[in-house]
């Protein structure tokens, strides 16, 4: 394990990117911070800039207008950066698959600029907060 990965796994700071989600996954992500789930006890924290982030929590099916901004956010993160595709839309565009304004899913857009990106998937519509925590833990344990 490289020291970069080793250091990444301690107290992951995450940045939240909404790329055209229905708000559900996003609310559940904010829910992670509140007393019932409280991920800050694991050292996880939502940060305000992609430059501070170890991981991106991406929600939504990626609309045409959001795709270039998602790529830009990914470019701004320091590498290695783990991308979490949160929810059915982010994992595979979900119910919006046939939408004319959808260019996703998330992994396709990220791989266009970084073929070796580390991408983890948390399916569900929306995934329960417990599922998100479990997804993050599982992804970090296989790195």
């Amino acid at each position: 394990m490289s020291w970069k990965i080793w250091s990444l796994k301690k107290s992951v700071w995450v940045f939240h990117v909404n790329t055209g989600a229905c708000n559900n996954c996003d609310i559940e992500i904010v829910n992670l911070l509140t007393p019932k789930f409280d991920v800050e006890r694991f050292g996880m924290k939502l940060v305000g800039s992609p430059r501070h982030a170890d991981a991106l929590l991406v929600t939504g099916a990626v609309t045409a207008q959001a795709a270039p901004r998602l790529r830009e956010v990914y470019r701004q993160t320091s590498k290695p950066c783990v991308v979490f595709a949160i929810g059915a839309c982010a994992c595979g565009t979900g119910i919006f698959k046939s939408g004319y304004h959808i260019v996703g899913p998330v992994d396709k857009i990220i791989r266009e600029i970084d073929p070796n990106a580390i991408i983890a998937y948390v399916p569900g519509c929306p995934p329960k907060p417990e599922a998100m925590i479990s997804g993050v833990v599982k992804a970090l344990s296989v790195l």
């Binding site: 940045f15 939240h16 990117v17 909404n18 790329t19 055209g20 989600a21 229905c22 708000n23 559900n24 996954c25 996003d26 609310i27 559940e28 992500i29 904010v30 829910n31 911070l33 509140t34 007393p35 019932k36 939502l46 940060v47 305000g48 992609p50 939504g60 099916a61 609309t63 045409a64 207008q65 959001a66 795709a67 270039p68 901004r69 790529r71 830009e72 956010v73 470019r75 979900g94 119910i95 919006f96 046939s98 939408g99 004319y100 304004h101 959808i102 260019v103 519509c125 929306p126 329960k128």
Partner: protein, 573 residues
């Protein structure tokens, strides 16, 4: 105005109309040619006057139709002006935005998706399609071949962060610009506002949206009537009970179906639980914006038991997928009722405590009173709905005005505050939580036995409007059927679509420090509005969102220092 007076008023403009169709007592369609639509709409909005709901553009093969929906809130009557545009080559119609600002966005949207030109429109920039969407391709025209290949004109090196589309208003470089958004911390959605400032005072506000446009109206045309509720519940995660309900209200009206009594009550209970968790969510975020993070944590903690109840009833914390045409999919098990009542009792105490804390805190009074005021006149002009309207003294509530589900049998109050500032909107939401608890208690008490759904075999050809009172305001759905098993047009108007443009009335003239809370006060929902905001790398961006949040919190801290913090004891909680 009662129904008879309305009918009399409508007969005054008979000479401008082709026909008046009356499907039901409170559903009236006025058919006219495109050139008369301006006069008819002006008459309805200014002289009658009716509340503008939304417009729908339809490609009906041989012509285009623009439907302007108006509502008479005293009788719950929909008056729809149906204007026919016969020229398919160069479709054009006169804009009604000059006298009705509420129509500005929807005309831009119809221009984007159907290519109809609105003459005399003040600001015909692109609204909901992406910057790189090709010109002249209109996704909702029936003859457009989809999917469209989008040209990604992003250079390989440093990307263009600033949008190049004509939709982005050219900015005068001499004035400082404040960009609010887009990917900003702790707000669950992105939003982008461009504020022009003079010193500390906001002089102009502009919005660019489209980031969350998923083309739901088009996807809906490919789904069967029974599948659509699953799609529309995913318009917005927080309104995932009201959108399907408004849709089934429309389809049930079209099919002439009445769901069983028990289903009506189950619908009420689920919708009111949704209202409670949505309003508590807003109170939490509002607290966060002015620097009361404790309120944020508390309100979201109190919200959790509501989500647990919803999960027990429907199987999911959000996106319930519970209503269907003809009834409900999941019943409320009778064993769950004692638990629900217990949780409601607990929740009522907590909400009363929160309400008292807000109403009694001199700092919150000083911080929120007189801030972001939306006057009653502006509220009417921008046709806002929900708590945004009720906080400005406009007493409208679909649950009372055009009752659906079982609301007509229940006893509750419409909360109205006349001031129009952020404080009034906060009070409206907090008191509405208490009303919602009251409604659920009554609904549980009256919950009849029996089946929860009837079978619906066919949806006949025709058109219908349905609406429901979502936590943010009136959700409106228009459905047209040709007798097949799919809708041929499905228009959705979420409350934020009319509430968000009212920022122009409430933000201009405000201090920058007050902008975040003013923007948050309408509880904007961008996934509902089908749009989100952008990274703007403009050279003279002087402040980002975090700086604004800081300003807002500093102002609260300053006020606190000046008037002292009230001493709260642990026993109060």
């Amino acid at each position: 105005m009662n129904q008879e007076e309305l009918n009399n008023r409508l007969s005054e403009i008979k000479d401008k109309l082709i026909d008046i169709e009356q499907q039901a007592d409170n559903r009236i369609f006025l058919l006219c040619e495109a050139e008369n639509s301006y006069a008819v709409n002006k008459f309805l909005f200014e002289d009658v006057p009716l509340r503008f709901v939304i417009a729908t553009g339809i490609d009906s093969e041989d012509c285009f139709e623009i439907l302007y929906h108006f509502s008479n809130d005293e009788t719950g009557c929909f008056v729809t002006v149906k204007a026919f545009i016969r020229d398919r080559e160069n479709p054009a119609i006169e804009s009604i935005a000059p006298f009705l600002p509420a129509a500005e966005w929807i005309e831009r949207e119809i221009h984007d998706i159907l290519g109809i030109d609105f003459t005399n429109h003040p600001d015909m920039r692109r609204l909901i399609l992406a910057d790189n969407w090709p010109e002249g391709v209109y996704p909702l025209r029936k003859d457009t071949k989809l999917p469209v290949r989008l040209v990604d004109d992003e250079p390989s090196g440093r990307p263009i962060v600033q949008s190049q589309s004509p939709a982005c208003r050219t900015v005068k470089l001499s004035k400082p610009i404040v960009a609010v958004g887009p990917f900003h911390p702790l707000q669950e959605e992105m939003e982008f506002f461009q504020l022009t400032v003079d010193g500390e005072i906001v002089t102009d506000i502009d919005m660019r949206i489209s980031y969350n446009h998923r083309g739901i109206e088009k996807i809906s045309e490919t789904l069967q009537f029974d599948q659509v509720p699953f799609l529309v519940s995913r318009i917005c995660g927080i309104c995932s009970a009201s959108h399907p309900l408004a849709y089934v209200n429309a389809v049930e009206e079209l099919a002439g179906v009445t769901p069983p009594d028990r289903a009506q009550y189950v619908r009420v209970i689920i919708n009111e639980l949704e209202r409670i968790h949505s309003h508590l969510l807003w109170v939490g975020l509002g607290g966060h914006f002015i620097g009361y993070d404790t309120v944020f944590m508390w309100a979201w903690k109190y919200r959790e038991p509501v989500l647990d109840l919803l999960e027990e009833i429907t199987g999911n914390r959000n996106n319930y997928g519970n209503v269907k045409v003809g009834g409900c999919r999941e019943d409320i098990p009778n064993e769950l009722i004692p638990k629900m009542l217990k949780e409601l009792d607990k929740l009522e105490k907590k909400t009363e405590m929160l309400t008292k804390a807000v109403l009694d805190d001199p700092v919150i009074h000083a911080r929120l009173k007189g801030v972001g005021t939306l006057s009653k006149e502006d509220a009417v002009k921008y046709a806002v709905t929900g708590p945004t309207a009720r906080g400005s003294g406009v007493a409208i509530d679909v649950r009372r005005d055009d009752p659906y589900a079982a609301y007509a049998d229940l006893d509750w109050k419409v909360i109205v505050q006349p001031e129009g500032d952020v404080f009034a909107k906060a009070v409206v939401r907090l008191l509405e939580v208490l009303e919602a608890i009251k409604i659920i208690r009554q609904a549980i008490k009256k919950l009849p036995d029996g089946p929860i759904a009837v079978e619906v075999k066919e949806i006949p050809p025709g058109e219908a409007c349905g609406r429901a009172e979502a936590p943010r305001g009136e959700t409106f759905h228009y459905v047209r059927s040709d007798g097949g098993n799919r809708p041929i047009r499905h228009k959705v108007r979420a409350p934020s679509f009319v509430n968000v443009p009212s920022f122009r009335a409430s933000c201009i003239g405000q201090h920058i420090a007050d902008v975040t809370i003013t923007l948050a006060a309408v509880d904007p929902c961008y996934s509902c509005t089908e749009r989100l905001a952008v990274v703007d790398g403009h050279n003279n961006v002087v402040q980002d969102y975090e700086a604004l949040l800081k300003l807002s919190r500093e102002k609260t801290a300053r006020i606190k220092k000046e008037i002292g913090t009230p001493q709260l004891k642990l026993e109060d909680f």
